[in-house]
Amino acid sequence: MDFIRNFPFFSIIICMFSGIITSVLSGKKARNLCIGAVSIVTILSACVLFYTMQTNVSFIYMMGHFPAPWGNEIRAGILEGVLATVFSLILLLSLVSAYHRTEEDIEATKLNLFYLLIDLLLSSLLAIIYTNDLFTAYVFVEINTIAACGLIMIRQKGRTFGAALRYMVMSLIGSGLFLIGLSLLYTLTGHLLMSPAKEAMAKIIATDSYHMPVLIVLVLMSIGLAIKSGLYPFHSWMPDAYSYSTASASAVLSGLVSKAYIILLIKIIYRVVGIDFIVTSKMMNVLFVFGLVGMIMGSLNAILEKDIRRMIAYSSVAQIGYIYMGIGLGVEQGYVAAVYHILHHAATKALLFISVVGLSNVSGGSKLFPDLRGAGYRHRSAGVAFAVGSFSMVGLPTLSGFISKYLFATAAMSASPKKVFLTLVVLAVSTILNAIYFIHTVVTIYTPAEEEKPEFERHHWREKPWVAFSLLLFIALNFALGVFSQPIVDLITRGLQMFG
């Protein structure tokens, strides 16, 4: 066996181990350890990606001495490699580019706990991406939820506590539905590992003996995961959670945490139930409708917002809607588009949240539009980064947002005629709405301020070169996703085929 096959396991265990050690370290040491661990994980994940690209088959890694269906196992293919690499890279960049903010926002005595949460969050993300076992997925979903709750409230303000409370209540409802779905699935199939469960599932579907129960199980699990990932109308915690937590935390929360549940849902659809059953049963239409409503309502709320971070948070609601619309289309291209959109949104939203912090820092800490006038001149690197992120969200060509919208539109073409019409109309409307608020914001930050207020300060990139550098890398990532879209889409398609 090639040594590289150990890397997925190594990356999970490195995160967990550094998380455990972090609890006895001081804040600064904890930060260094955490950044080191995340960098190592990024490199390992990239190795996994290249390895699977070369061999072109997925591989199974036993967690222990017992093969499936007795022991736990993890599995890595191209898609897992892509997701792990991009996620850990984005986590790394969000940590580095705002760590001075993190240290201002969080009490010094609790700083190591922040990095502990980040470490365990990454380990749970990786475990959800790699796992081939449903119950392992449940346990790590819970770790992910608790870590996210911790990240929201570690900046101790009334708003963040309220947001954490709402988030927990929503998440727990979701977890409950997911868990009961999971236990009923076990009752039907007798397996918890995905591959044997799929075989048992195929037999059940072929004999048609449990058609109704299978459908109910699927509905329970997908609604549970949809609630957890904040699909409209279960989004009420999002604006406060994203806009009052510390910058790195909001970048990670909006970019990665809510995506983990969607990835798990796609995994269940492909690896447990089988895509054919999904396409014929039409049960994903519910997600399709909620996705469409979310796309419009999220954007409308964003237009009404006066606070720039809340505006971006509401835009996240719309983007989650996009992803569920792609899943709900019920065609394979829809899933490719959804996965691509996950990558695009993770990269762009993290960039936006990080750059907004730079902009509001030079505007006396205010997040309101009138105060942000001219912020793009005062903090040039953040201004450019925000503009690029906004254009990507709107869908300007050569940027990743354009490709994802194009993929959604082409995917819709192979769906049923009613869906084609609905998808195209809603896509167009939502793009216009996106353009209204994002372009308006970019124009605002590049309109010179009417008067120089005393709290305004100028920021030169040489003061904090690492911030400028990581913003640059974020921008590069956005362009890379847009320019090299064809190879990336190919990778996703191949990865999804490996899933089946």
Partner: protein, 124 residues
């Protein structure tokens, strides 16, 4: 409806408990009762799982006198899963209760609506 509704009365109870817990989690305004609702919902799922493992007339999965004939014992898998689940739900309850204490210290109320209104009033 299928034919096994009355045979599976244990599962039926579990389902009813799940519904009660779920509705409590949604409807109760009082945080403590919300958390109790959450616990009821979780234990209902565990009851459902444990019921699935039971086989009439067999023993607990602890091997007696080295007799490893599987037809003597019940299914050990659900027990293992529920053990994991119980620890997860106690962790979550502790976290929720800690949040409740913190919010009560700040706003002197357990009513979710009031807490959220105080937070809105506080501004940024």
């Amino acid at each position: 409806m299928g034919s096994n509704l009355l045979v599976n009365y244990e599962s039926v109870t579990a389902v009813i408990l799940f519904g009660i817990g779920f509705t409590n989690l949604l409807l109760q305004k009082n945080l403590i009762k919300k958390i109790i609702g959450l616990n009821i919902m979780d234990t209902a799922v565990y009851l459902l799982l444990a019921t699935q493992g039971y086989i009439e007339g067999r023993m607990a999965p602890i091997i007696v006198n080295g007799n490893t004939d599987p037809s003597l014992y019940i299914n050990p898998v659900p027990s293992g899963l529920v053990l994991t689940g119980i620890v997860v739900s106690v962790s979550v309850s502790a976290l929720m209760l800690a949040l409740t204490i913190r919010l009560y210290k700040r706003y002197h109320t357990l009513n979710l609506d009031e807490i959220l209104r105080h937070i809105q009033k506080e501004g940024h």
